[in-house]
Point group: C2
Chain length 206, copies 2
């Protein structure tokens, strides 16, 4: 069975960097926005649209302006199709090779593959500072705006996760290792996390 | 500043073993029941009594039998004294040398020492199996009995922690690394955890 590592993460905690660096250290595939890019190609849809459908869960209506929405059965069907295809794609990727997958409820969807499930989190101040560091020049949000954005994204992630599992997103019981990145440089942690992951797979699959 | 590692742990998860082995790997002091032994000596009290006072928090009454209790101001004072002395002792130990301290709300009491705070947990089946393995011969509890005991001990730990902090015992936000030991041999994880701890202190104290 391939060795699958799933990374769930709070927005701004550096989970994506943990995933990318861990995949590099372990010499395995890494999937993040590649998932939406692959689906968009397969389904001949815009990648941004696919990402929003996955990020927001199924929407039966699209707001036009306050108090007015459009809804359509075909829109609903398309969004269900995206989620179905996403699950198929995740399973294909997990069957193809060892890999690290960030987000996308892969921890639940791939539970049959016995993945090592990591959760990456941090204190709010650290997440805000990290977001500021990565923000595009010219678009400088205030710490308060960033805090709101972080909470909004995480609430959406939790909601998305609930579509697939009763287990509460971020509840440590659903993960094998929960890593608080507050005040740390992720790069320096990777050798230890990679070693931990290798040992975990050796022990867990005895 | 000395390097202090605090280990909070679910009963049966192997947190004590993590602490002992980590202290050995890092070549530093290890404190667990040594705390109560030290206090009992200092205060000229029975070690078991001190352990119960610390384990249960302050009791203003002692049950005699159903519906009857005794309570006394001097008993209350003695129990407060034990907790005060325990805090002093923890601070003395943390000031004396690098160390690993298991339980005793050291994560909160020593927060001024900027400790690396670990939380060790596991699935219930794993904890029950681990308890059975360590049970004295001749005292074989059923899995259901052990599960009740595990929940009882953990509820007491959570309650004890609440005396010192608003932070919920076991809530990952209060810790730097949460380690799920389900299906693992702790011994094999130690080199990676020791490496992680060393790097954490290097990065966190820059």
């Amino acid at each position: 069975m391939n060795r699958i590592i799933t990374i769930s993460r709070e927005f701004g905690s550096g989970g994506r960097e943990v995933g990318k660096r861990l995949a590099d250290a372990l010499g395995c595939a890494y999937y993040d926005s590649e998932i939406e890019a692959g689906l968009a190609r397969q389904m001949n849809l815009d990648q941004g649209y696919v990402a929003r459908a996955i990020g927001n869960g199924i929407l039966t209506s699209i707001p036009l302006h306050f108090g007015r929405t459009i809804s359509s059965p075909s829109l609903y069907k398309q969004q269900v199709d995206i989620l179905v295809e996403k699950q198929k794609l995740l399973k294909e990727l997990a069957a193809a090779s060892d890999c690290v997958i960030v987000g996308r409820a892969a921890d639940v969807i791939l539970s049959g593959n016995d993945p090592l499930k990591l959760f990456v989190y941090a204190d709010m101040d650290h997440k805000v500072a990290r977001c500021q560091q990565y923000e595009e020049a010219g678009r400088l949000s205030s710490p308060r705006q960033l805090e709101r954005e972080i909470k909004r994204v995480d609430a959406r992630r939790a909601q998305y996760h609930r579509m697939f599992s009763d287990m509460r997103w971020g509840d440590k019981t659903g993960y094998h290792l929960c890593i608080n990145t507050t005040g740390l440089e992720i790069k320096q942690l990777i050798p230890h996390l990679a070693g931990y992951a290798k040992t975990w797979f050796e022990l867990h699959r005895k």
